[in-house]
């Protein structure tokens, strides 16, 4: 009886895993099929691989540019928000700043609003207001890095706060007594101890920035377009290049999958904003 139940659960979970994995597998199947074979009867088992889509995507200069943009923007944003979040959390944790809990909550609220609401004001501000002579933040990498701070910086502050709070105050107080400067204390005492937390924050904010589509689609035209927006360019009313679209999807997916293996345990806490410990 008992043993039978175990097999039942196993079968059940194999079925669920199949449902989870099959769509991803199907994406791969489409990406390694030539366009002419797509419309014939779908085959589930692959017999031959057709890599031309991958070669096309890699050789496409525009898409390569998008990939570079994606990498620069998400890396730049992740580093920026992690550093700023780290400094902000240190300030919130160690100093007796007036109204700091209100400030903390206010920063967190910035993440709650739907990004769609901010499309219009951000677009208008970036085109009309935030400009320095000829230089506008619209369609620039630095602009996207700053825009992504709206939702990533609150996240960094939220996840780093417990880490910094967990580092004993006595350590840096002792260092200050010994005459160390604030810079030394932050870089040589607090930073090494906070490193694991910083790494998780860096990785998760990187993924969020990498995955973002909506703001990138509205706030960039050509120079700073990211891979996710490149994907939507292949879906047009006249006809979609399915193979290319699937291949770009695979390319967008790969970094996320690699990262997935590194921070799997932290994903749930990250996505629920720490409200539920997973």
């Amino acid at each position: 009886m008992k043993r039978q139940r175990t097999w039942l659960y196993l079968l059940f979970w194999i079925a669920i895993s199949f449902l989870t994995l099959f769509p991803i597998y199907w994406l791969f199947v489409i990406s390694v099929k030539p366009a002419v074979e797509l419309f014939s009867t779908p085959e589930i088992i692959l017999t031959k691989f057709y890599w031309q889509n991958y070669i096309d995507v890699i050789n496409d200069e525009t898409l390569r540019g998008y990939m570079v943009n994606s990498l620069i923007i998400s890396t730049g944003n992740a580093v920026l928000v992690t550093v700023l979040g780290f400094l902000a959390c240190y300030a919130l944790s160690r100093f007796n700043l007036g109204g700091k809990e209100s400030i903390f909550f206010w920063t967190i609220t910035n993440r709650m609003a739907p990004p769609a609401v901010f499309l219009l004001p951000l677009f208008l501000l970036l085109t009309q207001v935030y400009r320095f002579g000829d230089f506008t933040l619209l369609d620039s990498r630095i602009g996207m890095i700053l825009v992504y701070c709206t939702f990533n910086l609150p996240f960094a502050i939220w996840t780093l706060r417990p880490t910094i709070d967990g580092i004993p105050k006595e350590l840096d107080e002792a260092a200050f007594v010994d005459g160390a400067s604030a810079w030394t204390v932050i870089t040589e005492i607090v930073f090494p101890l906070a490193r694991p937390g910083l790494a998780v924050t860096l990785i998760l904010t990187w993924v969020f920035a990498w995955n973002e589509y909506l703001l990138a689609a509205t706030l960039t035209n050509f120079n700073a377009r990211t891979l996710t927006t490149g994907l939507s360019e292949y879906v047009t009313t006249t006809g979609t290049e399915w193979g290319i679209m699937a291949t770009i999807s695979v390319f967008t997916l790969i970094p996320a999958l690699i990262i997935f293996s590194m921070v799997q345990r932290h994903i749930v806490a990250g996505l629920t904003f720490g409200a539920v410990k997973g």
């Binding site: 989870t20 769509p23 995955n211 699937a246």
Partner: protein
């Protein structure tokens, strides 16, 4: 202790960035929503027009239908995810070989970009390319076409959301179930309670905080769903899947009627806040009082 000035200096960059990209946009859009502004119209100036934008908004059929389908989408998606997630979490509470692997596989969709999820499901469900329409046609003779059938498109977006986000519910509920003490359950079994009684009187009250937090998060995320629907159906057919975010992106934003667009944005923000706050007030606050 160091002077507070250093603290403010460390905090300053964060506050400055969030001020310019969080606070300013909010007040800017609020201010614009009371003005008429279309740079490409006959009169391109910004003119104060009182509540005219909102007056137009409450009679805007496109917006109202978008609101309706959004509510339906959020309701069906979140409800199915919570029910399904609960059963999957229960199934995870038992011991069986390879549990860790299944758990990892189950977590996989969470890390994927919404737009990729949209593209995957587009490849799955587009007629003549996707496998789902083919299988449905061959086995059941059912013609699934998300390009023409409003109901099919709506259902597919809900299923896509379930595929993408049920793991989140499952994993949060696993955490909640795993932290439950065993005593009340043993006691209930001794007292001869049946499964349903145990669920309603013991399990549910004990996991309620985690469950509500999860519902809350899912609700907020579902309300802001844009990318995957944009990719999968583009809001169509007609306006069947034009959820609020998609509505702003596809209908409001491209028309350069910025004053009216601001009014739509403000109301969407308002509705999001109210929905979340109502859930909080109705469900979470009374429990705190009791505790």
């Amino acid at each position: 202790m160091q002077s507070n000035r250093l603290g403010w200096i460390l905090l300053a960059p964060t506050l400055v960035i969030l001020f310019f990209f969080g606070v300013v946009p909010f007040f800017y859009v609020l201010w614009l929503s009371f003005h008429q502004w279309n740079p490409f119209a006959v009169d391109p100036n910004i003119i104060y027009n009182g509540a005219d934008n909102f007056r137009a908004l409450v009679f805007d059929q496109g917006f109202l239908s978008s609101l309706g389908v959004t509510i339906a989408f959020v309701f069906f998606a979140v409800l199915s995810e919570v029910i399904l997630g609960y059963f999957l979490a229960q199934a995870f509470m038992k011991e069986f070989p390879g549990k860790a692997i299944f758990r990892t596989v189950h977590t996989l969709p969470l890390i994927m970009a919404p737009i990729i999820v949209g593209s995957i499901w587009k490849l799955m469900t587009t007629p003549s390319i996707g496998i789902i329409p083919t299988v449905l046609d061959d086995w059941f003779g059912y013609d699934l076409n998300i390009g023409t059938s409003a109901l099919a498109a709506f259902t597919v977006t809900v299923i896509m959301d379930i595929w993408h986000w049920t793991p989140l519910v499952t994993l949060t509920l696993i955490a909640a179930l795993a932290s439950l003490p065993a005593d009340p359950f043993e006691q209930a079994q001794i007292d001869g309670a049946n499964k349903r009684q145990i669920f309603w009187h013991i399990t549910l009250p004990m996991i309620a905080p985690a469950l509500l937090a999860t519902v809350f998060i899912r609700l907020m995320d579902a309300l802001r769903t844009v990318d995957e629907v944009l990719m999968l159906t583009g809001g169509g057919p007609g306006s069947a899947t034009r959820y609020l975010g998609v509505h702003i992106f596809k209908e409001v934003f491209p028309k350069t009627n910025y004053g009216y667009g601001s009014a739509v944005s403000i109301i969407v923000l308002y509705l999001t806040i109210v929905a979340c706050w109502l859930l909080y007030a109705a469900l979470i606050a009374p429990r705190n009082k009791k505790a």
